[in-house]
Amino acid sequence: MTIKVMAHGRYILNFKGVPPLPADDMKLIRSKTHLVDASRKSLLVEGSDETVMNELARKLPQWTVSKESCYTVPTTRPRVQKTPKS
């Protein structure tokens, strides 16, 4: 079981087996989190706290749990980081 960057917020649970997603696993996940979205073999959930996500990770050996990450629109433009000195 792999846990990455656990914190409050949204997490992606990724099933490492072959779909369909096991019914017992889904029942456990739904009992501990709020299921926001689902793909072919990944779930987007809102977790209450790190303890809960750690517990899920321990009980779901066929899944990885990682924090959702967000990408910004790529750019090559330099950005201002400080206001000018006097």
């Binding site: 990724n14 990944s42 967000c70 990408y71 790529p74 090559t76 980081q81």
Partner: protein
Amino acid sequence: MAQAPTQNYILLPKTDMRFSAESLATTTRQAFSRLTVDTHLDDVLDGDLSSKAVVLDTTRHSGAKLVRVTAAELPNLRAQLPGVRIVPEVFYYPQRWMQEVRNNVKPLQGQARVSVRLLLKDAKTGSPVADATVVAFTNFEQREGEQATSNAQGVVQFRNIGNRTLDQIYIYPKAGHWSFWKQNFAVKTNDTITLQPVKLDFKDAKTFFYPPATEGQPTGKGVRVGVIDTGVGPHPDLTVAGGVSTVTGEDSSNFADVDEHGTHVAGIIAAHGTSPTGVRGAAPEVELYAYRVFSRNNAGASNFAIIKAIEQAVADGCDIVNMSLGGGPSDDATEDAISFAHENGTICFVAIGNDGRQPVSFPASYSLSLAVGAMGRKGTFPANTTDAPNVLAPFGTDKKNFVAAFSNIGPEVDFIAPGVGIISSVPGGYAPMSGTSMACPLAAGVAARLLSTESSVLAMPRTAARSEAMIRFLAGHVKSMGFGPTFEGNGMLFV
């Protein structure tokens, strides 16, 4: 002559630690099985591998292999073994506690409060240029400065930068004009800066290296390309055959552009306008599908939305997917989605990132991604644009060609393509943009153009063998531009 240093790498199947007994007997798998201890790779694989490339160890004939190759040979090795993961051998040592020295940034004492206004005008007509972003640096190295946007009268107002010489000024118009760049710029209020209008028959780097196809030449017909981005269009030069938004909680039917990035990317691939009134993409007859993964509320793109978009692109029968995005931490769920695409006959082109010679960003760094870097060519953009500082070594065999200063580097790079001063469609018109975001769709579009001539490959069942056949075919249509493999991979696709 000094010999290139070798390094050890571990070759693995795309999932798990060994090929399963049930996995298809593809060409890749067969070649993989023949890599036994002490085998020289050039005895088993095609391509130009040196005699130093050798198998050092193996777990079993279908399991992991430890090989020794030079970094320069990695793109070639990847091309010969599509679908195989290649990871550097890593050594672990006992953990030691290290004290980290951190310099706290002190708050600035006092600020300049001299305001100034500048006027932006069209160089030909004198009309005001509205909605241009102006970034004025008083100290570029420290990124000190101020940013503002021009209003409907072309006026841009600054509060803090007056009565001084700017270190650098960057101006980015929304559409219809070239950008502007100047160093050591003395600023006085009511100064006028004129901006060059973009002419659509201008020979940018895309047109230089890939002139529009003439009668009878392939244009991508029969190939379906998915653009996973900020959305696409609407734009008169683009026809979107289908698509969705995979952003959680948003209307899935709305894949219109929430920025300009996706429309520009899509245009590089599939625009079907005609110069001088429109722009033409590398493969104007492909079937274009749009997958919006960036949220309408400016929150960015969740990796979950990207995962769903990849899966949807596969379900929609896309042959090629373009992802001009990345930079976050690697995650196995996104890797699995790209693997899923590969296993189902869809190949993914991914931009390597714009961090300026930093390591290739994820997901381009994943071994099943076709990672694309950006090059430019002197003379294909006006000298006073923001692309002037993008000119940086290494220069190519043709010294006018250069690797864009913003382009990342690394052994994961597969291809390089023009990505400096590329004119394409944006909502409301046309604009030049630069980035590995532009290079990636150009490579994807040229790949589509090439693949449209290979009906036998396109007709293959949608399995890993199809993806491998596409990659092998493209590997035969690449030429080095003389930058070196960590900058260009195998080089640039040619038609």
